[in-house]
Amino acid sequence: MCRMSRAAACLVLAAVFFLTACAASQAEYYVGFSLSSLYVGGEAVSARERAAASSAIADLLHEIESQIGADREDSDVARINAADAGERIAVGEHTYAILTLCKELFEETGGAFSPALYNLSELWGFTPDFEGQYSVPRAEPPADQIAAAVALSDFDDIILHEDGTVSKRQAGVRIDLGGVAKGYMSDAAAQLLAERFGDSVDAILSVMSNSVLMGHKRGSNASLGYTATIENPRAVVTAGSGASQGLFVIGLSDAAVSTSADTYRSYVYDGRIYSHIIDPATGKPSANGVISIMVTVPRTASNAGARADAYSTAGFCMPLTDALAFYASLAEERGIGAVVITADWSYYVVGDCTALNRTEYAALVSPDTVIEDIFERAEIADARDEVVVDAREEEYIRFVAERSGE
């Protein structure tokens, strides 16, 4: 009998072991946040310390989110949006810091990046109220409604006061910090790690599609530097393994990386893609022939993550040649790099950035891999504002239209 109960005990212990192993791997953190590598002074940090750092970052991101979430009734942003003209709204440090940074980015991008587009986003059906319906095909709103929303979408109508309060010139203007928030969050997380572990941190931090690569690559393939995949925005019509990988950027160190694409929150109507990135100049979804942009910003620049986030959006809201020239000037001033993929399935590389095509990267890291290029490298000098849509792009648009039942 004793042996029997021992066997039973073994069985129970084994079950407990398996169950706890599963539970441990499912620790929950802030949605979309990850700390996937952490070295201090060249040594990998223990799992316990890493978990503690992750939970401290999660708390910080929650705090930031509670101030800036437009869909939270009591957030600073919600209170600013509900305020009357001239009413002074006291805001938290993060909201104020982000708005200050937005003012700078608004100037720097010539207005192409603006956080005051909430009215337009709502008109086009891309605000959180429409969650689950972003991809539903729908006709363009009437021109007079677009014009009315444009009139209430000027970031110059938002005034920051030195006492830490914010006011508006027009009551109807509403803001949404989504275009820079995740970049700001990645910066804040990186700063927390630097404060906790000192200057010799090598880490990979990601908040959704915004990453901060701290220090240098450690571990395998360290000589390549940090490597990044630029997601293939046309993966659904691309065959083969690794279809989601469009291009690769290698040799990264101490940099923030952000990617914007027309696949996330978008719909197809009447043979055209309408993305959530609204051009402040036209009041309509961007239509400059760009389908994806990755920007890398060296961490020597202040708020590198937030900058990368805003810069990668701004390139959708200017003619292609202007966008490439804009990135070239930023490359000179701040050492940024940019990869711009267009609807003719070409890509342009600007500034300090080693972008490799799929076959080139495969040859470097895994020569046996059978892989084909998807996008073709083009020279900046050959770029034209009128992007001729590739036949495969038309197939993609048809595919999305069929999928959404248009």
Partner: protein, 145 residues
């Protein structure tokens, strides 16, 4: 040993000895462990999936975007099309990609094993009746982000 003693001994031996029970328990435990390792210990998550019909790959798509597809058998051919909201075929499996995982939502096969396998971010979903397999594929070339 007389006949009676012999019968008593044989009668005793009809049931398992404790040693046998332990060996059997160990075997069951080992099987359970193998089963758990094969089906429940997560492997690296894939980012695309392929549909195989009679061992031949007929379709591949990414899993980063939510989508629904309809697999069906047309004569001797397996076909995958984007799901349009209508199941107007026989011998079908409705495949859903959601939040980076893939599952079979409905099917007209008799056993429905493919549906019970649930949402997968790695591994395989098999539909024996339709000779169809969905295989989640690894993330292609490795990078840091």
């Amino acid at each position: 040993m007389n006949r009676r003693e012999k019968i008593a001994r044989i009668r005793m031996g009809r049931w398992f000895a404790w040693g046998d029970v332990i060996v059997l328990a160990a075997a069951v435990l080992l099987m359970a462990a193998c089963f758990l390792i094969a089906f429940y210990i997560p492997k690296e998550e894939g980012d695309s999936f392929s549909v195989y019909f009679r061992g031949e790959k007929i379709f591949t798509a990414g899993m980063e975007e939510d989508a629904e597809y309809l697999f069906y058998i047309d004569g001797n051919e397996g076909i995958v099309i984007p799901y349009t909201g209508a199941v107007d075929r026989s011998d079908y499996n409705l495949i859903r990609v959601q939040g980076g995982s893939v599952c079979v939502l409905s099917a007209d096969c008799p056993d429905k094993t493919c549906i019970y396998l649930g949402e997968r971010t790695w591994g395989e979903i098999l539909c024996m009746a339709h000779e169809m397999m969905i295989r989640v594929e690894g993330g292609g070339l490795e990078t840091d982000i």
